[in-house]
């Protein structure tokens, strides 16, 4: 290119670089971490080490690339980890020693992934159901099938297959995992520059506009899920080669890391911005953290703290520039100060407040209640309808359920944890975020309060409020990180989760001591006027929660922020304050659950909150809440809580194998939401 041409086209060129800033900075952060490892560890960075490192992150990178496709369209795919496991066990069971069988196996891997993707795509793109509900049920169904194929680790993968993926593509020059990633990246680049790729971004940026512009939005969404599934299939094939055998649980813990990798790589949840190359870098960044912890000799209890901190720093460094929220806030404060000096603060200006316009869209007050609330009911009803069906089945199977006060009492006691969590997580999701710090917020507060209380009611009187305050404060820290530092909610709350895990371990030195106060135990297991006290508490909590979200100023602001933060800001909604409040609320709710749970069990234990993260999200979305924010009702979330609790109660009373329970669980979630989905005219 000639010099004059470059000069003439300089501005668009800078724009292009700017567009790639996300992955570029992610790459710089990764290289900095890699250099750190190399500097501290003895010996030069060898080809051998290169091979090891490239193999370590490859499976995660492939899965994250797939997830990126879905996220770019504004979707959300929870089936990624389950798909990896299924491919792994199927390959181990079916693969023969012949080369043909090994080649066919790779085809099988992609086909399984594509089939799972097609299932997701069908319900998301064609039936127009929420991605998170569909992929959540797909996750359960696939997990169940995986356990049916193989109920414990075992099997073996042919040596040739192993070598193809993990040995050398060109000995001494190119390790096979690098070649695999390069092929995947090349595929992504081709895809991105195709019509389909343009459509992917268009659909994710604004689905309606893309549709109006004549794009086949439905086909593009469907294609994104199928291709994503194939990437998971490839990841599953790689895991099979990397491990040489199969484990039905191998993919499950990958799910959270896949999302973290995508977000680290600069892809925005909600769609339209980012790319798969960033996700590859994100995946390798996550894996190199393991090496950093090792070379720095971070002790065991500190490892989750260190990991959380590294994660935060990595994102923070990437987001520090003139456009970053920190800079924006500094500018805002400076402007306000100078405005104060000049007497130009908006609060000092005299504004004639207009009377609020009467909303003509609202049906006359005399209209039937159902007519007025039709839209809300359509979101809320599926969960309750499903709940009613589960109750009926329980009655048929066991008899004496429907008219048994004890049954409802137990059901409500078991529901109380999720009902409380649903308020916090639900409020966060309504603003378009996610709170992943739930598990160790529960665990930390539970262990801390039980340790202080040591079975004494007198201490509980101040330790419980203290625990709730700590939860609130830590939640506010989440909110501050998200608002002031501009950290993605997933990264901030995940890091907080790790830090709290470390804090809990350090506090109790690995052995949580102490137990709940008698009053706490009575609250969760005693009797008050025929019912467990927590049921009476629930009777107060539920209306309060519904009012908080539905009728207060704070509640209105949550919806405003979730629908469109910019519009909310321009309408004088304090977006930052609302977000901080929402995460504070979630921290408070998690802390309350930690205290309730330790009352229920009598003591606190490490990992006591682990079982509640996914359900806390599931009940919110099954209850009709939109995962991208702005739509949903607390009564719906409560319906989700009742449905899922009643279902798991029903299943616990049977002797069905766990695999079958998973499948039933997935089908019920899907069926409940499918039955009363939004019908188009």
């Amino acid at each position: 290119m000639s010099a004059s041409a470059v000069a003439g086209r300089a501005p668009p060129r800078r724009l292009r670089l700017g567009r790639h800033r996300g992955p570029l900075i992610a790459a710089a952060v990764f290289l900095a971490l890699l250099l750190t490892v190399d500097l501290i560890s003895p010996g030069p960075f060898s080809y051998f080490e290169f091979g090891f490192l490239s193999a370590g992150g490859a499976a995660l990178a492939l899965a994250a690339m797939g997830q990126t496709l879905v996220i770019l369209t504004g979707g959300f795919d929870l089936s990624a980890g389950a798909a990896v496991s299924l491919v792994n066990v199927v390959l181990a069971v079916t693969m023969g020693p012949s080369p043909l069988s090994q080649i066919a196996s790779f085809g099988v891997a992609l086909a399984i992934g594509a089939a799972i993707g097609a299932f997701n795509g069908l319900f998301v793109a064609v039936v127009r159901m929420q991605a998170i509900v569909v992929t959540l049920s797909a996750m359960f169904i696939v997990q169940g099938i995986t356990l049916l194929v193989m109920d414990k680790p075992g099997g073996s993968i042919a040596a040739g297959f192993v070598a193809t993926f993990t040995a050398d593509a060109i000995p001494g020059v190119l390790p096979a995992p690098v070649a695999v990633i390069l092929v995947a990246v090349a595929f992504w680049l081709l895809l991105k520059n195709s019509r389909f790729g343009v459509g992917l971004y268009a659909v994710g940026s604004d689905g309606e506009a893309a549709f109006a512009a004549g794009l086949a939005a439905r086909r593009i969404r469907f294609g994104a899920y199928v291709l994503a599934g194939m990437f998971y299939g490839a990841a599953g094939a790689f895991v099979s080669a990397q491990t040489g055998s199969a484990d039905p649980l191998v993919g499950r813990p990958m799910l959270l890391e896949v999302f973290t990798a995508v977000v680290l790589g600069g892809t925005r949840l909600g769609g339209g911005r980012g790319g798969a190359i960033g996700s590859v870098i994100g995946a390798y960044t996550l894996m190199i953290v393991v090496n950093i912890l090792l070379v720095l000799n971070v002790s065991a209890y500190f490892s989750s703290v260190a990991e959380g901190t590294i994660l935060l720093l990595a994102v923070l460094v990437a987001s520090l520039n003139r456009a970053s929220p920190v800079a924006a806030y500094v500018r805002l404060v400076r402007t306000r100060l100078s405005a104060r000096g000049g007497g130009k603060l908006p609060t000092r200006a005299t504004v004639r407040r207009a009377a609020p316009p009467s909303s003509p869209a609202r049906p006359p007050a005399g209209a039937h209640w159902f007519t007025r609330n039709r839209a809300a009911l359509r979101l809320v009803m599926p969960a309750y309808a499903g709940f009613a069906i589960v109750l009926a089945i329980s009655q048929v199977l066991y008899g004496g359920t429907l008219d048994n006060v004890g049954y409802y009492n137990s059901l409500l006691v078991l529901s109380s944890f999720l009902a409380v969590l649903a308020l916090g997580q639900g409020a966060v999701i309504l603003t378009g975020g996610l709170d992943l710090s739930v598990p160790w917020m529960i665990g930390f507060v539970g262990i801390l309060t039980a340790g202080l209380i040591h079975g004494a009611d007198a201490i509980a009187a101040w330790a419980i409020p203290l625990g709730l305050l700590i939860g609130l404060a830590l939640g506010i820290v989440n909110g501050l990180g998200i608002v002031l530092l501009g950290l993605p909610p997933i990264v901030m709350t995940l890091a907080m989760n790790g830090i709290l895990q470390g804090a809990a371990l350090l506090y109790c030195n690995g052995t949580p001591a102490g137990f709940a106060a008698p009053a706490q135990r009575w609250f969760m297991t005693g009797r008050l006027a025929g019912l467990t006290p927590v049921v009476w508490f629930l009777a107060l909590f539920v209306p309060a929660a519904a009012l908080l979200l539905g009728r207060t100023v704070f509640g209105r602001r949550i919806y405003a922020v979730g629908n469109n933060p910019l519009a909310a800001k321009l309408s004088a909604v304090p977006v930052g304050g609302t977000l901080i409040g929402v995460y504070g609320l979630s921290g408070l709710c998690s802390a309350l659950v930690g205290i309730l749970l330790s009352g229920f069990s009598g003591q606190a234990s490490l990992g006591m909150g682990d079982e509640y993260l996914l359900p806390s999200i599931a009940v919110v979305v099954v209850g009709g809440t939109l995962i991208t924010g702005g739509r949903g009702y607390y009564p719906g979330m409560l319906g989700g809580v009742l449905l899922l609790t009643a279902l798991s109660t029903l299943l616990a009373g049977t002797t069905l194998p766990d695999a079958v329970r998973d499948i039933i669980f997935g089908l019920v979630v899907l069926g409940a939401v499918l039955a009363l989905r939004e019908r188009r005219a």
């Binding site: 003895p42 995660l60 414990k152 912890l293 234990s605 990992g607």
Partner: protein
Amino acid sequence: MKWIRTVCGLAAALSLATAAHPAAAEQKFKIFLSMSYIGNDWQAEAANMVKAMAASKDYRDKVDLQVQVAGPDAQRQIQQINAMVQQGAQAIVVYPISPTALNQVVRNACARHVVIIAYDAEITEPCAYNVHIDQPEAGRVTAEWLAKQLGGKGNIVVLTGVPGTSVDTQRTAAAKEVFARNAGIHIVAEGVGMWSQAVARTEITKILTTHPWNEIDGFWVQVGCYTIAAMEKEAGIADDKLKPCAGEGANGHRTQMLAANAPGVQGANGSYRPMGEPSISYASPPYSGGLALKLAVEKLEGRDIPKLTTLPLPVVTNETVKLCQQGTWAEMQAGCNVFQPATIGNPGWFASIYSPQTPQIGLQAALNGKPEQ
């Protein structure tokens, strides 16, 4: 390009400097502990015992131990073990996240003459050493006890561990085989217990909504007898009417197994007290990590160690349960197997910490990572 060369030069200088540093500790064996997820009670206790073993006077001059946590994801443990090999590990003590997923990386490590020894869970790669109990035996012995206790007939509730793991599958399958041989025994409900007292509480609550106490004659659980006895007390069931429960080696559970009038128990409260619960307590003992470290050192010193060390299954019944006063190794050797509630605040804490082969570690090791003496 000049800056690149400068950076490279600096990097080389620094890595030389750091490489020269650890030469002081040359006589010690460089051993790593690769744990999986540390966020549960068993893992934390086992880690304490490994650390105590390394700090004991027999080993502190021999071993340079570094403890690392991989988290629940097998991919990361693979990466971690590779990195440990790169760092010059002579032996790696592993709590494997998966019995199969580590096989390739373990084979690589063996090829570079690193001793790999797994505790509690297994690694199926033949070059690895394993230290664990016989899982099917655990399932069988406890199920046989329960069948005998019930006289071969009755309705029982089963609480499994984490589905999809070898340990859970093997234990449950062996137990079910026993129950299948006893035609009078019926499994009326099966909950997923996840090896957690907290989960046991929610699962049993769910099961009770459809199968009330009077329809259940006994329990076979992997973790949860302590919680079940506590729930029976809440339901107003008298001490002498408690249902037989075959289950875990938690200190709370063993305390409940002591006769209701057992003397000298300090710090008992609520359901964490002697109540003569008819029970058998088995465990996957948390000292296995400490023993694995000991075996690794023996191997590095040139002695032969067996590929598989099958730990004797710690089984405690109402007849053999005995209270420890101090919890020293010597006292445990004399036969005590449950600790004072005043010392062990957490009833879910795992009490099977005695092995005749590990005189270096006792109660203080499990609690605080401090060796004996």
